[in-house]
């Protein structure tokens, strides 16, 4: 999961390295994702998260498509 200056840089990197396109989101969207994603994970009470709850995070943020499907 790499950071790029622009979408154009992503496509140049994909062409140069031969990696397939997966998914791309901007920094603001990632900040919106990591807050619920990492909520509670420092707590001694953390016991993991179900796939259903993880999927709900993606769905709630409008992260759609096969890339974001857990099952």
């Amino acid at each position: 999961m790499l950071a790029f200056r622009s979408e154009g840089d992503v496509h140049a990197w994909l062409e140069r390295t031969g990696n397939p396109f997966g998914a791309m989101i901007d920094f603001a969207a990632m900040w919106a994702l990591v807050q619920p994603w990492y909520a509670g994970r420092m707590e001694p009470s953390w016991r993991g998260r179900s796939a259903a709850d993880a999927q709900a995070i993606f769905d709630g943020l409008g992260l759609e498509g096969d890339f974001w499907r857990l099952g």
């Binding site: 999961m1 790029f4 990632m30 900040w31 990492y38 993991g48 890339f67």
Partner: protein, 166 residues
């Protein structure tokens, strides 16, 4: 000088596989707290002493936590490699917070550091294509700095097939 009662030595207790035990979760917590306060992973020796277990028992705990996608050890099993968002090795995702500077595993985890700590955090990295500096992060609770995008190759459901590559 025993009276036949079962040994109270935890080191003699048998191994259990499968889902993480309460001790495993406590070890996970200790790993995360060490990263949060020092920027580094605790060694297996430190964990063994803290939890009064053998090195093999700590290794078995880490294996169960790996199965649960909570902790990733080095491939040679000698220590903690990742406790997302924290990396035990230097990466191009250094995150500076008020209390500690840590390495994140990737761009997702770089923003994950201020998220998990509930603090501000400043990321210094580079555009993966241009190799030019990118600096951004959370100040006063808000995202600021350079704008950019994050690309992910591996679909989320396969992230832990090879978490190091992901």
């Amino acid at each position: 000088m025993t009276d036949g009662a079962p040994s109270d030595d935890r080191r003699s207790q048998p191994v259990s596989g499968g889902t993480p035990t309460e001790l495993d979760w406590a070890i996970r917590t200790a790993i995360y707290q060490n990263f949060a306060t020092t920027g580094a992973a605790p060694s297996y020796a430190v964990l063994a002493e803290q939890f009064e277990r053998t090195l093999d028992q700590v290794s078995e705990s880490i294996t169960r936590l790996l199965t649960a996608h909570e902790i990733a050890p080095f491939a040679d099993g000698t220590g903690v490699f990742m406790a997302n968002p924290f990396s035990a090795v230097a990466t191009d995702y250094a995150v500076e917070t008020a209390g500690v500077t840590v390495f994140a595993n990737c761009a997702w985890d770089a923003l994950g550091v201020p998220a998990i700590l509930g603090t501000d955090g400043w990321i210094r990295t580079h555009c993966a294509e241009r190799a030019t500096p990118l600096e951004f992060g959370i100040r006063d609770g808000a995202l600021t700095g350079d704008e950019g995008v994050i690309h992910m190759v591996v679909p989320i459901r396969d992230a832990w097939v090879d978490i190091g590559f992901t």
